[in-house]
């Protein structure tokens, strides 16, 4: 028995650290992977909110209070930006969260500030080829842009912008 396994001096200094090493590796890897997943998701929702806001302020609308189609197109642009970053639409949302003119009225008017908010539910654990598990952090980004005061296709006058 002793001849087959040899002495245990090396094992005393090594085997017992295996569970510790494994624990450090698994927990540390999950921690770093989750933080990176949040950073990566933040990049994606930043792009989605920006694209949605940009698409919205460049849209043509028939009337100041009729911007549903523009909003839907902007949201679609946001989801496409998320998809381009490899994100699932089921875990994400892109919404128009603010549209306010300089006079405080809601509507698609010149100089109105349109704000889009994009969010993504980052899974707790994400495995290659299998997907993500659990509901982790909700990563959110907000971007706003002014509707150009001098472009065509926008109802109203630009005088209120000054």
């Amino acid at each position: 028995m002793i001849r087959r396994h040899g002495g245990d001096r090396g094992q005393v200094g090594g085997v017992e650290v295996l569970p510790f090493g494994l624990l450090v590796f698994v927990v540390g890897t999950l921690l770093v992977a989750n933080v990176w997943a949040v950073v990566d998701a933040k990049l994606a929702v930043d792009a989605a909110a920006r694209e949605a806001a940009r698409h919205f302020v460049e849209a043509d609308v028939p009337a100041a209070d009729d911007f549903d189609d523009a909003s839907a197109g902007a949201r679609r642009a946001g989801y496409e930006a998320l998809a381009a970053h490899g994100r699932e639409e089921a875990r994400s949302s892109v919404e128009l969260t603010g549209l306010e003119s300089p006079t405080g009225q809601a509507g698609f008017t010149r100089c109105a500030r349109a704000t889009f908010t994009a969010s993504y539910d980052v899974p707790v654990l994400r495995l290659p080829w299998i997907g993500g598990f659990g509901s982790g952090l909700d990563v959110t980004s907000r971007h706003s842009e002014l509707i150009d005061p001098y472009r065509d296709g926008v109802p109203g006058s630009a005088e209120a912008c000054s």
Partner: protein, 151 residues
């Protein structure tokens, strides 16, 4: 090498594993912190570009435009527009200082500085808690086209 004095070294190699794994994790932590700085840099640029893009049209001197047809930006109005954009942004609490707005004729240049906080380096004694990133963008309104922001 005397077997009696040093013994076998088969098991002792295992002690290197936790150290090796820790080194890998520390390197990964540094990579994550650097990616945070990169994220802040991108956000700073996007904020500067959005502010410049808005100011290039919303800050025009309307009275002069309507009387002389000269498209010239009003510096005070440009600063106000940029301040509105920055205040409306979620990055407002991260600003390292007020944005710098430079107006030249029909063009405007916006420079933004943001604080970028580290996550992992923060736990190391003596290491900096974060860094400051700056980004600038300029925009000029062009006839018949949307204003374009360039870094």
């Amino acid at each position: 090498m005397s077997r009696g004095s040093l013994g076998r070294d088969g098991g002792s190699a295992l002690t290197l594993m936790p150290a090796g794994l820790l080194i890998v994790l520390v390197l990964a932590s540094i990579a994550v912190d650097m990616s945070l700085v990169h994220l802040r840099k991108r956000q700073a640029f996007e904020l500067a570009a959005a502010a410049a893009n808005d100011a290039a049209t919303a800050a025009v001197d309307q009275a002069r435009l309507r009387t002389t047809h000269d498209y010239v930006l009003d510096p005070e109005r440009a600063r106000a527009v940029v301040a509105d954009v920055v205040a409306a942004s979620e990055l407002a609490p991260e600003l390292a200082g007020p944005p710098v707005v430079t107006v030249s004729g029909a063009g405007v240049r916006v420079e933004v500085a943001l604080d970028a906080d580290y996550i992992f380096a923060d736990v190391v004694p003596g290491a900096p808690d974060g860094t400051e990133v700056t980004a600038s963008a300029s925009a000029t309104a062009a006839a018949g086209a949307a204003a374009s922001a360039v870094p």
